[in-house]
Amino acid sequence: MPVYALNPGYKGERMDRVENFHGNQIVYVGWDEHRMFCAAKAFPLPPSMPFAAVIENIMPEAFGQHPEFSQINWETAEWLLDGEPFKPQLEASLEAQGVGHKSMVRFKTPELQGFQNAGV
């Protein structure tokens, strides 16, 4: 049952429909096993944004404060899109490669173990 309600057929208002974000969609980005950032971060991005722009502009804003950030090798980073293995196409838009509204983009940097190699 989708809800236990007094009246049958009750529908709740979807608070985060993509239409509410003024042409943007929400994309979450997370750097695995780097707990300096307590959680993945949320960004409102145009669906037409190429993935290269995410790496060039969004990643430094999200994770640039980390002492290891400058050492990230984006060539060898391993990616997950909504829990599935994913190979970003740099020139393609988010939309064209399946990064949708409220998609979760995670990356792992196997050669970087975090501050003091402690996953921080």
């Binding site: 208002e13 707990r35 300096m36 950032f37 307590c38 979760m104 996953g119």
Partner: protein, 500 residues
């Protein structure tokens, strides 16, 4: 001559059960329209045992006596500048968290109990809920009065009610109660009366009240004492509700179990802020969160669930996950607030070396391995003059609304992430517990007012985060927030105490 006073037994009967009446020309079901849609079956309300054994006139008399004593102490506290007796200015931040995060829940509890106190068709339950409703109103008032003295001397107290409705982390306690209050009356009673007031209450009030006692805060301690006998009554009501529901009909058992699973999980997620308060915000520690969890849930709660087993009730789902998380959540939560100290309505800080050692001793299996390195990094950054305030806004859990800060218990370096797709839209959760709650009633939780998304939708002012903080949240930016080091609170405290 006839006796002028009723004997106690007659008085009790006339002022409780006799307040009900039969409906001769109205349909009883229409008078109590909320009683059936949850699927709970009540066969005989007369089996309800009044948990309080108290009539309204004695209730007013007892409460009035308590109020007189309480306010006499508040007056003395105020006239003697009681705030100067707290251990240091860091302690007061625990009170700011309490006033913005917990006191407004007392108000929501008042509203919730008033509502169900109208909706049950059994008069015994109605009278009990009415009294608890009044207690909760008294608690919010006395808490506000206890803390109003601090508001004269410290920052961050001034807009607690406004903040509760808007601030990103306060949406966690707020939405918890909104969820319970928008449920049916029986779920509300299992959620608040039983799971919160009975099973988990000792993990909320004991830490704050003992914390006050250990840190020289007489005002809050006195409030705690004044509320204690009320809380004891609330616990008996919570237990009576569960036993009554389970004894009324066997079909109620799976429904009650589902609610216990849900509200135990929601409650423990909410208590994350208490965990952090105990381990990090109290300058004089009472006990660690881990120890509190062991004493008040694993031992006391374990015995309770053994007792309920005869009704077919088992331990709440995911209790074993929480048992592992007790080693982690306080550290993860304080790190979250420390790194978002620019957006919090209170001050944050790096624990002192002595406190770091205390944490190592309390958490020998996790602190040095996972959490001390965070503070080493914070110290390095601070020494460079780059006190770490994280950029951007965090991803939130759709159910509990906490930033997705919890980690996998089989790999505590990795944040725990779950998701569900409902009607073509994706929703994210911090845990299996929160995902299960969404999946059971997605139509309810699609309505979550997630502060981060609301900011991006432009519903909280802006455009910058600082505008949201100052204009929409009404925080006094640069005064209420940021590190305790260099704060006006700290500066004033040092002047009062003659600390150079």
């Amino acid at each position: 001559m006839a006796a002028k006073k009723l004997n106690i037994k007659d008085k009790y009967r006339l002022l409780t059960r006799d307040l009900d009446w039969d409906f001769s020309y109205e349909d009883r079901k229409q008078a109590f329209p909320y009683e059936e849609f949850e699927g709970i079956k009540i066969t005989d309300w007369n089996k309800w045992e009044d948990p309080f054994r108290l009539t309204m006139d004695s209730y007013w008399k007892y409460q009035a006596e308590k109020e007189k004593k309480l306010y006499a102490i508040f007056d003395a506290f105020s006239q003697n500048n009681g705030h100067l007796n707290v251990v240091d200015s860091r302690y007061v931040n625990a009170l700011k968290l309490f006033l913005t995060g917990v006191s407004p829940l007392e108000y929501q509890a008042y509203q919730g109990f008033a509502h169900v106190g109208r909706q049950f068709s059994g008069v015994g339950a109605r009278v009990a809920c009415q009294m608890q409703s009044l207690d909760e109103l008294r608690h919010v008032q006395t808490q506000i009065h206890a803390m109003s003295h601090y508001n004269k001397f410290f920052d961050g107290f001034q807009e607690f009610s406004h903040m509760h409705d808007r601030v990103w982390y306060l949406s966690v306690p707020r939405s918890f109660f909104c969820d319970a209050r928008s449920a049916g009356p029986f779920e509300f009673m299992v959620a608040i009366g039983f799971s919160f007031e009975y099973v988990l209450t000792n993990l909320l009030f004991v830490p704050f009240m003992s914390g006050a006692a250990h840190n020289g805060d007489m005002a809050t301690v006195t409030f705690g004492f004044s509320a204690q006998s009320d809380e004891a009554r609330h616990m008996t009501l919570g237990l009576e509700v569960i036993k009554f529901l389970l004894e009324q009909h066997e079909d109620n058992v799976p429904i009650v179990q589902k609610w216990i699973d849900k509200w135990f999980w929601r409650g423990t997620r909410l208590l994350t802020i208490v965990a952090m308060m105990m381990d990090y915000m109290l300058p004089n520690k009472v006990m660690s969160w881990k120890e509190a969890w062991e004493v008040y849930f694993e031992e006391a709660g374990g015995a309770l669930f053994k007792d309920l087993a005869r009704y077919g009730i088992r331990m709440p789902k995911y209790a074993e996950t929480i048992e592992k998380e007790k080693e982690h959540i306080s550290h993860q939560a304080w790190w979250t607030f420390y790194t978002h100290g620019h957006a919090a309505g209170f001050h944050t800080w790096i624990p002192s070396d002595k406190e770091l050692d205390w944490l190592s001793a309390q958490y020998p299996d996790t602190f040095d391995k996972y959490y001390r390195p965070l503070w080493e990094l914070a110290k390095e950054q601070e020494a460079k003059g780059e006190r770490f305030y994280t950029s951007g806004l965090p991803q939130l859990c759709q159910t509990c609304q906490i930033p997705m800060l919890f980690t996998e218990m089989d790999n505590p370096n990795q944040n725990s992430m779950r998701d569900s797709v409902f009607e073509d839209e994706r929703y994210h959760f911090c845990s299996d517990g929160c995902k299960d709650i969404f999946d059971e009633e997605p139509e309810k939780y699609v309505q979550s007012w997630l502060p981060v998304h609301q900011i991006f939708q432009g519903n909280c002012g802006g455009p910058g985060v600082e505008d949201v903080l100052s204009d929409y949240y009404k925080m006094n930016v640069g005064v209420d927030n940021m590190d305790i080091k260099g704060s006006p609170d700290e500066k004033r405290w040092n002047e009062w105490k003659g600390i150079a």
